[in-house]
């Protein structure tokens, strides 16, 4: 079983978001970078399945050399191999074009992406890769099983969920629920240094969406407190003052 996990680099979820260069750049000062949490869930689920069925798990990232510590982190968690496509990830289309190009060579049974990144939240890379490869794409999967021939998964549609079965190859974008992340073991951390990390060069690809500038939302006004003894007053305020009920 060959599995590919696409991993993105994002700021830690507790990062205070600010901008520089006249609000045109994200302020990376003192930011701690992590693997996109949903990608880490995807990786962990793939490792659990590998423990039952055997196989090789490859992680792929489009990024410059500064993403290598995150690929090593994925090794420590349990990935076997890594591929870094040496390019600045400009937009979803560009990133997905790179991944699709190299994924086609890999003969993977299935590919996981995260449903979206926690920073730019494109929610597109997985679907674009799937279309370029001409394979099924299931968006937003909170439950995933694979028996070596067929995958059974849940997906959340508007107002409900569906259980679906798909045969490889396919791409699923993973969301919360598939499993809990693992803390790397000492053995994992030791072996991470020696696992193979291949660096490849990007192919020609378009990039169609660019950020001109950022803006922070206006600061929230003060909280208006209602006495617990007088809780009913809150309903009155929501009805007559805020007019939301």
């Amino acid at each position: 079983m060959n599995v590919l996990i696409c991993i993105a680099k994002v700021p830690d979820t507790t990062t205070k978001i600010t901008f520089t260069e006249n609000n045109t750049q994200f302020n990376t000062d003192r930011v701690q970078w992590v693997i996109n949490p949903l990608d880490e869930f995807a990786l962990t689920r793939a490792i659990e399945i590998k423990e039952a069925l055997g196989g090789t798990i490859t992680v792929m990232n489009v990024g410059l050399a500064d993403t290598e510590p995150l690929i090593r982190k994925a090794f420590a968690i349990g990935a076997d191999e890594g591929i870094r496509i040496n390019a600045e990830p400009t937009d979803c289309f560009f990133v997905a074009s790179q991944i699709a190009h190299y994924a086609k060579e890999g003969n993977y049974d299935y590919i996981f992406a995260g449903r979206e990144t926690t920073d730019y939240e494109g929610a597109q890379v997985g679907g674009i890769v799937a279309e370029f490869m001409g394979i099924p794409f299931i968006a937003g999967v909170p439950k995933f099983d694979y028996d070596g021939t067929t995958a059974t998964m849940e997906r959340e549609i508007e107002g409900g969920k569906e259980v679906i079965t798909v045969n490889p190859p396919f791409l699923a974008s993973i969301q919360e629920g598939v499993t809990e992340p693992r803390i790397p073991s000492m053995r994992g951390i030791m072996s991470a240094r020696t696992k193979p990390l291949t660096v490849v060069e990007p192919v020609e690809a378009g990039s169609f969406v660019g950020v001109n500038s950022y803006e922070l939302p206006p600061a929230k006004g003060d909280c208006k407190y209602v006495d617990a003894e007088n809780s009913e007053e809150l309903i009155n305020l929501l009805h007559n003052e805020a007019k939301v009920i």
């Binding site: 979820t13 507790t14 978001i17 901008f19 949490p37 937009d91 979803c92 289309f93 997905a96 699709a100 979206e116 926690t118 939240e121 494109g122 679907g127 799937a130 370029f132 099924p136 299931i138 968006a139 937003g140 909170p142 059974t152 997906r155 508007e158 107002g159 409900g160 969920k161 569906e162 679906i164 079965t165 798909v166 396919f170 974008s173 919360e176 629920g177 809990e180 378009g206 169609f208 969406v209 660019g210 950020v211 500038s213 950022y214 803006e215 922070l216 939302p217 929230k220 909280c223 407190y225 209602v226 006495d227 617990a228 009913e232 809150l234 309903i235 929501l238 805020a242 939301v244 009920i245």
Partner: protein, 323 residues
């Protein structure tokens, strides 16, 4: 060149979020001086299809092939790209939901089209490029982005636009596309639709509970409040992790992003990852025993108190209000 909008068919009705998308599309079309064409897939009453005109659609292309009864990103993408080809549309609008996340990226690859999601404002169109405002960093900031491809895909945030309704009727045209086996990649073995509940992303009021509620059974009083207000229920991540509530109700940075008019955070501390998914809400109400809980910094209204005493009193007050 026309503006095309994908209008979701949610088991025989068109959800509000899709009506907002149709309305948004008609605004973009007006700016471009062109027509608004809606694409609808699956069985739906003609009266409902015509009523999309109320929200600004000039024409509705209705694909009702039986083979399309199951949502498959491949076959649905075939349909929407067929509609794009037959109408020559160069701007495609979705509501930012399951369908947009499944079809949008595939169209992007097929048509070399840039896509902007979580869109909050109408576009500025300047020749071939289009600039638009969206949220990024889980709602912690806005970004103005430019799409420079010839075909552009836009997914608008639910609850961000309120349609003005007219009595215009749309012209409905049946449409079809030849689907082959290669357009289908998956089999749906079980569907579990919660039809009597308000969908979380569309809800205008959300009642959310955290670890402070101590046990799954204590959601009864939240459900009661939700029923009276026509609201959806939600929860924090640990609540879903402990299995008190389903993961589909978990909001936040790694869960669902909601932006209702009113968000009740009950027994929720207000961790940064939680706020990320809810701070687009118009009004936030916090109920917490701890006056230092960070949720009060994000809240518009707060009650420092025990949820088990406060919520029943609120429920009584709502009952009185509803008469």
């Amino acid at each position: 060149m026309a503006v095309l909008v994908y209008a979701d068919n949610s088991g025989g009705s068109v959800p509000n979020s899709a009506l907002e998308a149709v309305y948004y599309a008609s605004k973009v079309a007006a700016e471009k001086g062109t027509e608004t064409i809606a694409v609808v897939i699956g069985a739906l009453d003609n009266a409902i299809l015509e009523s999309l005109g109320n929200y600004g659609a000039d024409k509705v292309l209705h694909y009702s092939d039986d083979k399309l009864s199951d949502f498959d990103s491949q076959s649905y993408t075939r349909v929407v790209s067929d509609a794009i080809n037959s109408t020559g549309a160069n701007v495609i609008i979705f509501s930012h939901n399951y369908a947009s996340k499944s079809i949008g990226p595939r169209l992007s690859a097929k048509l070399q089209a840039g896509m902007a999601v979580a869109v909050m404002g109408l576009p500025k169109i300047d020749g071939d490029s289009l600039t638009i405002r969206r949220t990024v960093y889980a709602g912690k900031a806005f970004a103005d982005v430019t799409i420079s491809s010839a075909i552009k895909i836009i997914a608008v945030t639910p609850n961000a636009f309120s349609p003005e309704v007219t009595d215009k009727k749309a012209a409905v045209e049946p449409a079809s596309v030849d689907l082959t086996d290669s357009d289908f990649g998956m089999k749906i073995t079980d569907t579990n639709k919660v039809t009597d509940k308000v969908s979380l992303t569309e809800a205008t009021v959300v009642i959310s509970g955290g670890r402070g509620l101590k046990d799954a059974s204590n959601w009864d009083m939240l459900e009661e409040m939700a029923d009276m207000l026509g609201a959806a229920t939600a929860c924090s991540k640990p609540v879903a992790d402990m299995g008190w509530r389903p993961h589909s109700e978990h909001v936040g940075q790694t869960g669902i992003t909601v932006r209702p008019n009113l968000y009740f955070a009950i027994g929720i501390s207000g961790a940064i990852q939680h706020l990320a998914g809810v701070n687009g809400s118009k009004i936030i109400v916090a109920i917490n025993t701890d006056s230092e809980a960070p949720i009060f910094k994000a809240a518009d209204y707060g009650i420092i108190g025990d949820a088990f005493e406060v919520v029943p009193r609120l429920n009584t007050a709502i009952k009185n209000l509803n008469g």
